[in-house]
């Protein structure tokens, strides 16, 4: 045994990194449940990053990485924790995920932190995650909804909106986003006349719209889902003539917005997480049918996986607590910018001691407690179509 230790130590010294090993990374997404249509693409993108690193053979002296998939279900915290605990038993070093905010908070506090695992979520956007006790183990490549609130407030201010009514889906997402928008808008001198929840999946929203109309406002902010109550609220508001202009956050931007309302909501505007970063195109070329970068959070998933492996290289160890502190250095300037498909080159640069600035597909820039600064696409409905105004 002693000999083995000595040998390993020698190897480590020689290679300037740990010896070759098999590193397991968990991928904890809701492969069943409300966002199952997104997770296939997300997981394929994360696995693409892993495959790329394996092909290069340059991680920690030729270590290989294997992905272990687990089902977070997006909504069932107990199921997500069980899946994460199974990953711990399988010996994963870190978890790419979770996906939805609720299950991410639950697995982070109950599984990842006690076991000293890093979690990098590509899609959990709840502001609550910015302040969750994480011992520096949690990061996300998606922005917090608090950021979207500020963007929304900026857009409204620039368009001369001073008073707005606000409705939100009665869910963790809707509530968090609504609070963020209200806080940011009021800080900039705007006024939210009434913030009222709507239940998803109801047939009739005329009572909710009536209350909002009575409270007044130039526009109605709809922090909901386009395939759920959000569409019902817009329909009822248009039918009764209560509002004709809407501010539409990310959950409302989708094909069904054009299909259901089209020219009826001309002039409405909103913002959706999205990037014009050059990395998107590069990654799309690498997708080759396995995934689609235009599917939400796919680029972020690739970046989450890439960040983990680059941080391991930088720390010279696959042990999560060793490399968690390196994630921010890798993601941010200064350093050589790294695009998708250049992970092999990045590993070489790190091994040579050069600083890198991982840009990735989504233009990663981590701020505050390790979350993406986030880029948003400002949109406006013109002639019944969603058009891009600019990126901010």
């Amino acid at each position: 045994m002693k000999k083995l230790y000595a040998a390993t130590a020698a190897c480590a010294l020689l290679a300037g990194a740990a010896s070759a090993e098999e590193i397991k990374l968990g991928i904890l997404f809701g492969f069943t449940g409300p966002i199952e249509s997104l997770t296939g693409s997300m997981a394929a993108a994360a696995e693409k990053a892993i495959a790329e690193v394996n092909e290069s053979g340059k991680l920690l002296g030729g270590s290989t990485v294997t992905a272990v998939r687990g089902d977070s279900t997006c909504i069932d915290a107990a199921a997500a924790q069980a899946a994460a605990e199974k990953m711990v038993a399988d010996g994963v070093k870190a978890i790419i995920g979770g996906d939805c905010s609720g299950v991410t908070i639950a697995t982070l506090t109950n599984v990842a932190v006690p076991n000293g695992l890093v979690m990098i979520s590509p899609s959990a956007t709840s502001p609550a995650l910015s302040t969750t006790e994480d011992n520096g183990l949690f990061f996300r490549t998606s922005p917090s909804d608090a950021r979207e609130g500020e963007i929304a407030a900026d857009i409204m201010m620039e368009r001369g909106i001073k008073e707005a009514a606000l409705t939100y889906s009665n869910s963790d997402y809707g509530k968090g986003l609504a609070e963020a928008i209200q806080k940011a808008f009021e800080a900039k001198g705007g006024k939210i006349t009434l913030s009222a929840a709507h239940e998803d999946g109801k047939a009739d929203y005329s009572a909710e719209v009536a209350a909002l109309q009575a409270a007044g406002g130039q526009i109605l902010i709809v922090a909901g889902y386009i395939d759920q109550g959000g569409a019902g609220m817009i329909r009822a508001a248009l039918d009764t003539g209560a509002f004709s202009l809407f501010e539409l956050p990310g959950g409302m931007i989708g094909d069904n917005l054009e299909k259901n309302f089209g020219a009826e909501i001309n002039g409405s505007f909103g913002q959706v997480p999205g990037s014009d970063s050059p990395g998107m195109e590069v990654l799309q070329g690498m997708g080759a049918g396995a995934f689609d970068v235009n599917s939400p959070y796919t680029a972020e998933s690739y970046d989450a996986a890439a960040l983990m492996m680059l941080a391991m290289q930088a720390a010279g160890s696959s042990k999560a607590t060793d490399w968690a502190g390196k994630v921010m250095d890798i993601a941010n300037a200064p350093g050589e910018p790294i695009m998708p498909g250049e992970l092999g080159k990045a590993l070489d640069l790190i091994a040579a001691g050069t600083d890198i600035d991982y840009q990735g597909a989504s233009g990663v820039e981590l701020i505050g407690p390790g979350e993406s600064a986030g880029r948003y696409r400002e949109i406006e409905i013109k002639d019944g179509k969603i058009t891009t105004v600019k990126y901010r």
């Binding site: 009536a210 009575a214 019902g232």
Partner: protein, 336 residues
């Protein structure tokens, strides 16, 4: 001018929505109350009978639209409605044969029939989802508005718009016709009279030679017709999603019980009472008060009795109050 604005506002957000919602509830509650009167149990499967019938009607509507058949200014769904009613009737009568008749012969207590109907409800619900899926289905066609808000503003020069959806107007008209036919049937035809006799005193009716199975069959047929009509109108006016009809069960039952279970007139009154209460308790009267009081004063608060989150609590509260002070309902039904 201000008074007019206030009245229009009230019409647009309280009276018109409550009238159409009330008609839909009244039609549903009539079915519940008829079944209670004749078969003596609360049929929990009523909401899902509505959903099933509406689902079939939607399929029929799509078929007609595909063949290019429309009803001009009226929704095509009205043409497909008889199909929905017939298919649902078939299912309901089969259910009666295989489930309810067994318990009726055993003279089972009402609570056993109620639980059996809960089972039927789940099966019906699953069947509906299986056939038409769980998503929102839009099947309304024809013009959307009878009066539309911007046009109304332009025509009258008022600050507030009034919009009346074509489907809302249609709902009220169809409900009036259906209720009229039902009352004519119950009061003037031999079969209707035998139904009322059976409901009033079962033993006496049997002695006078009324065939109980026939009465039961006709009750199911009428209740199903009302349920599917209510369901289709609700779907046209709002939107169709199988689960919504299950949620409609509470206000429907509240309407039937408040009016007095087993009393058709009570069901109608109950439907409108529940609808108007739900809408007006959760409406914010701020602007209306502002218009109706002299000067430019507007109340600083919303003048809203209950937040819209508590909409369903209104039905519950009315139900509890009525059951406490007048357990047989406003119109003296059979429940005690």
């Amino acid at each position: 001018m201000d008074v007019l604005n206030g009245l229009v506002l009230l019409m647009n957000f309280v009276v018109v929505p409550a009238l159409s919602y009330g008609s839909q509830l009244a039609l549903g509650a009539l079915g519940v109350t008829l079944i209670y009167g004749i078969l003596r149990f609360s049929n929990f499967a009523h909401g899902d009978t509505m959903a099933f019938g509406t689902g079939i009607t939607i399929l029929g509507t799509w078929g007609l639209q595909a063949w290019g058949v429309t009803l001009g200014i009226l929704p095509t769904a009205l043409l497909a409605l008889p199909l929905g009613i017939l298919v649902t009737m078939g299912i309901v009568l089969v259910t009666d044969r295989v489930v309810y008749r067994f318990y009726r012969r055993q003279r089972a207590r009402p609570v056993i029939l109620v639980i059996a109907s809960v089972g039927v409800m789940f099966i019906m619900n699953a069947l509906t989802r299986f056939i038409i899926g769980t998503d929102d289905r839009a099947f309304a066609d024809g013009p959307r508005f009878l009066v539309n808000a911007p046009a109304f503003k332009a025509a009258t020069g008022l600050d507030e718009g009034l919009s009346i959806k074509a489907t809302a107007a249609l709902t009220v008209v169809v409900a009036v016709i259906a209720v009229g036919l039902l009352f004519w049937f119950l009061n003037s035809t031999r079969t209707g009279k035998s139904m009322r006799a059976y409901s009033d005193n079962e033993d006496l009716a049997l002695l006078s030679g009324i065939n109980p199975e026939r009465v039961v069959t006709i009750t199911w047929i009428i209740a199903t017709t009302l349920a599917v009509t209510a369901g289709v109108l609700y779907g046209l006016d709002k939107s169709f999603r199988p689960f919504n009809y299950y949620a409609l069960l509470l206000p429907t039952f509240a309407a039937a019980i408040v009016g007095g279970l087993g009393n058709p007139l009570g069901a109608i009154a109950g439907g409108f009472l529940i609808a108007f209460s739900e809408v007006s308790f959760t409406y914010a009267f701020k602007k209306v008060v502002g218009y109706l009081t002299p000067g430019t004063w507007e109340p600083p608060g919303l003048v809203q009795l209950l937040s819209t989150d508590y909409k369903f609590a209104v039905s519950f509260t009315i139900l509890i109050i009525v059951l406490l002070f007048r357990p047989t309902g406003i119109f003296r039904g059979k429940s005690a």
